[in-house]
């Protein structure tokens, strides 16, 4: 039954895809050569504009010479006198105009050059203890979140987290492309910086009906903070709940279609098909192996925004990710990854003074209702071996107050239920392995309290101090201190999705 249903959905998707492609044909046919012809037309118009500018410059010269010129006169330039001094000035201004014209031409050419920026993000940290569990099976220490050998070790550490290069340019009149190349030295990778392609994607710019297609490797549209790069987060670390449930950034290899609704208010929808979700996700799916169709990951997101008035606004969103079979093709068993998320962002930003005094309150709530066990890479089971759904909740909420243009203190609270734990962890109340619910129905959870303070000496430099107090199940609680120093070189782009 289920396979039949999925087959039908698939057929439906294919028909829809053909429908869209079929719909595009007539659009282009109706406006033959829309892009190419209009490009030439634009160039012509720009040339006309330049000629007009030159004419205006001549007019200004005449004015400088004291000749009365009717304001905004569209008539021909006044005849030049025989005055040699004036002739000389005219010549100078013409030279100036030529130089300006050349410069304009240069700037046209530079539009085809990529814009570059580099972010350097360095962190000094101290952690009192690692809070890892040792299952004693030779697989190494496990972070209670489920990932192996990936928790920050205890002790002091200076870490160049990222040196991230952002490159973007128009490809042609129909597409642009961007790439984020990252050299990062992770605690897990030893000290050596490794180069990686965080994102490399092609984005359409001229599709009709407010559609945009993005393909390649990118941070998928799920929630608000999951698709931000580390150095663009409002805190030093990614909220632990997001890090655990998504698996780092929401990276995927795939194709995304997004749509801006033609409504008077902001409404945006997107759908993505990709290999997986999460840069460090450990679901058994990787970018290396191929997979059956149902082993792909499907995402959807809907977001909207309202100005409550000039000074207050609210943003709401909902996301879902589904991997019907979170396994590569070599495995036969079926286990599902399914996450739903809700996010909100309230902002008080008084029109005149928001730059130096404003408040942001935002949060995300995630619910994991899949069957996948992120620790053991299989299906999640109870102590009796019966499959169970995660049913784990997680999320964060933070408030940040801008005291001045430079100072922003904030506070974040993060909570998540452990998706699964090594069996040696015993629930203190029931004496049973902690993967099962305890007598009161509560799961082992993780709470993190994080006050932080950000200082912006300029728009391109930022220092941030953060303290994390985390309490994790029955493991010893930990204290962590961070000092983050970030700079941006080049055309630090204020992208729409990185907006404050």
């Amino acid at each position: 039954m289920r396979t039949q249903l999925q087959l039908r959905v698939l057929i439906g998707l294919i028909i829809l895809a053909f429908g869209i492609v079929g719909g595009l044909g007539p659009v282009f046919a109706q406006n033959p050569g829309v892009p190419a012809a209009s490009e030439v037309e634009n160039l012509k118009k720009q040339m006309a504009l330049m000629e007009e500018q030159l004419r205006q410059l001549r007019l200004q010269v005449d004015k400088m010479a004291g000749q009365p010129v009717a304001p905004g006169s569209a008539g021909p330039p006044a005849a030049s006198t025989a005055d040699p001094a004036l002739e000389k000035r005219l010549g100078e201004v013409e030279n100036k105009a030529d130089a300006a014209l050349t410069a304009t031409k240069k700037s046209f050419a530079s539009q085809f050059n990529p814009s570059l920026s580099l972010a350097i993000d360095t962190i000094g940290s101290y952690k009192s203890n690692a809070q890892g569990f040792n299952p004693g099976d030779g697989t190494g220490t496990r972070d209670a979140g489920g990932r192996v050998n990936n928790s920050r070790p205890a002790g002091a550490d200076f870490n160049l987290r990222t040196a991230e290069l952002f490159i973007s340019a128009d490809v042609d009149p129909f597409t642009r492309a961007y790439a984020v190349i990252n050299a990062s030295a992770d605690a897990a990778n030893g000290d050596e910086a490794t180069m990686g392609v965080e994102e490399a994607a092609i984005v359409t710019t001229r599709l009709p009906y407010n559609l945009t297609v993005r393909g390649g490797r990118f941070f998928a549209d799920f929630g608000t903070l999951p698709h931000r790069h580390d150095h663009d987060l409002p805190f030093v670390d990614r909220p632990p709940s997001i890090d655990t449930f998504i698996g780092g950034e929401s990276q995927t290899n795939g194709v995304e279609v997004s749509w801006l609704a033609p409504t008077p208010f902001y409404l945006r929808a997107s759908g993505t098909i990709g290999n997986k979700l999460g840069a460090d996700s450990r679901e058994g799916v990787t970018n290396v192996n191929s997979r059956p169709i149902k082993g792909l990951t499907y995402l959807g997101r809907l977001q909207t925004y309202f100005d409550l008035n000039d000074d207050h606004n609210l943003e709401l969103g909902g996301s879902i990710v589904e991997t019907p079979n979170a396994e590569d093709i070599t495995n036969s068993g079926r286990f599902e990854r399914r996450l739903v998320g809700m996010d909100f962002r309230y902002r008080w930003y008084p029109l005149g003074s928001g730059v130096r005094q404003s408040l942001t309150i935002a949060g995300e709530l995630l619910h994991d209702i899949g069957e996948a066990d992120p620790v053991n890479g299989g299906r999640r089971t109870d102590v009796f071996g019966n499959p169970v759904r995660q049913g784990a909740w997680g999320g964060y909420v933070y408030a940040e107050y801008r005291l001045s243009k430079q100072w922003r203190p904030g506070f974040r609270f993060d909570y998540f239920q452990l998706q699964s734990e090594p069996l040696l962890v015993t629930n203190p109340l029931t004496g049973l392995p902690a993967s099962t619910l305890n007598a009161t129905g509560h799961r082992t959870d993780n709470r993190t309290w994080s006050p932080y303070l950000t200082w912006f000496p300029s728009e391109f430099q930022r220092l941030r101090l953060q303290y994390n107090r985390s309490v994790r199940g029955n493991a010893q609680s930990a204290d962590e201190f961070f000092l983050q120093w970030t700079v941006f070189l080049g055309s630090h782009s204020h992208g729409f999705s990185e907006r404050e």
């Binding site: 118009k45 304001p71 905004g72 902001y266 309202f306 902002r347 003074s353 300029s458 729409f496």
Partner: protein
């Protein structure tokens, strides 16, 4: 079954889109501007043919307007986008234009009207190092405060609109003529009115009164900001106040989006006074049009110069 529904749905959507297109053709030309001064002037040039909306409001910091998603549907529908240029809006307009999915108003296309094209920018940095500050990389973009800047803005807007809607050329040219005739008369009046401001020394929070000061012969002594967009250091303020005392500068201009604390302290230290001056239309409740903006600034400065006893003789 599915395909039947799909084709019906597609047909319906297509119908809706076509209907929306039809409806649009009958409506006025929809113009979006980054700043209110441009909206005021564009409304004068476009007359009854256009509906104009400014994204920023007059009391905001024009360099740091927050990227509100509610701007996106407006830009999506815009037939023309008018900006100041010279990187004035670099922190918010480019990101919004990309998100708007409207290729007409992308920089380089005809629907993107940059009114700085005719302006000869002042204070152009000789090198592009950010050590010089972050907000004026292409020169000072506050040319709207000089009424001659208003002339260039109006001319560029008229040309840009004609380029996009050549069928309305005559209307735009006639409206431009009326606007410029009024502006010329005003400029003559303002030059007489502002004569006592000649040689008056002042500072401002941000480097935004350059064009105004040059037009009316005022003497710019310095800014509270270290560089455009960089908050002052203590040593910079000490140096600034010493400078003011040496040259006898008494007037401290404060733009509405800056805090009054530091300007008040400086004024108290040097025995001068603070004048709150809008840098855009709507920056003060009395300032409803571009003409109001220039006139208000001159009159407020005259009052202040008289109180401070630094006004020149006419």
């Amino acid at each position: 079954m599915i395909s039947q529904w799909l084709s019906r749905f597609c047909g319906l959507m297509l119908g809706v889109v076509l209907l929306a297109g039809e409806a649009h053709a009958e409506e006025k030309i929809y113009i979006v501007t980054s700043l209110p001064d441009l909206a005021d002037i564009a409304a004068r040039i476009g007359g009854d043919l256009v509906t104009v909306e400014s994204l920023a409001k007059g009391i905001e910091d024009p360099h740091g307007v927050p990227i509100k998603p509610s701007f996106v549907p407006k830009l999506n529908r815009a037939q023309v986008l008018i900006v100041m240029g010279l990187e004035y809006e670099h922190s918010w307009i480019p990101a919004l234009v990309t998100e708007s999915r409207n290729s007409k108003i992308v920089k380089g296309n005809s629907g993107y009207i940059d009114v700085s094209l005719k302006v000869t920018p002042k204070e152009v940095p000789t090198d592009l190092s950010r050590a010089k500050g972050e907000l004026h990389p292409a020169g000072n973009p506050h040319f709207n405060l000089d009424p001659e800047g208003g002339r260039l803005i109006a001319q560029t807007i008229a040309e840009g609109l004609t380029l996009n809607f050549p069928q309305h050329r005559a209307t735009f040219e006639a409206n431009l003529k009326v606007f410029l005739a009024q502006l010329n008369a005003k400029i003559r009046d303002w030059e007489i009115l502002a004569r006592p401001l000649h040689g008056v020394k002042f500072i401002s929070y941000h480097q935004d009164f350059t064009y105004f000061a040059d037009r009316f012969g005022m003497d710019y002594v310095g800014t509270i900001e270290l560089k455009p967009g960089i908050e002052p250091t203590a040593s910079h303020l000490v140096e600034l106040m010493q400078n003011m005392k040496t040259v006898g500068a008494k007037i401290v201009l404060r733009e509405p989006h800056f805090s009054e604390k530091v300007p008040n302290q400086i004024a108290a230290q040097v025995g001068g006074l603070v004048v709150k001056l809008p840098i855009m239309v709507g920056g003060s409740p009395e300032v409803k049009t571009y003409f109001d903006l220039i006139e208000y600034n001159i009159r407020e400065l005259l009052k202040a110069a008289q109180v401070a006893g630094v006004a020149g003789k006419v």
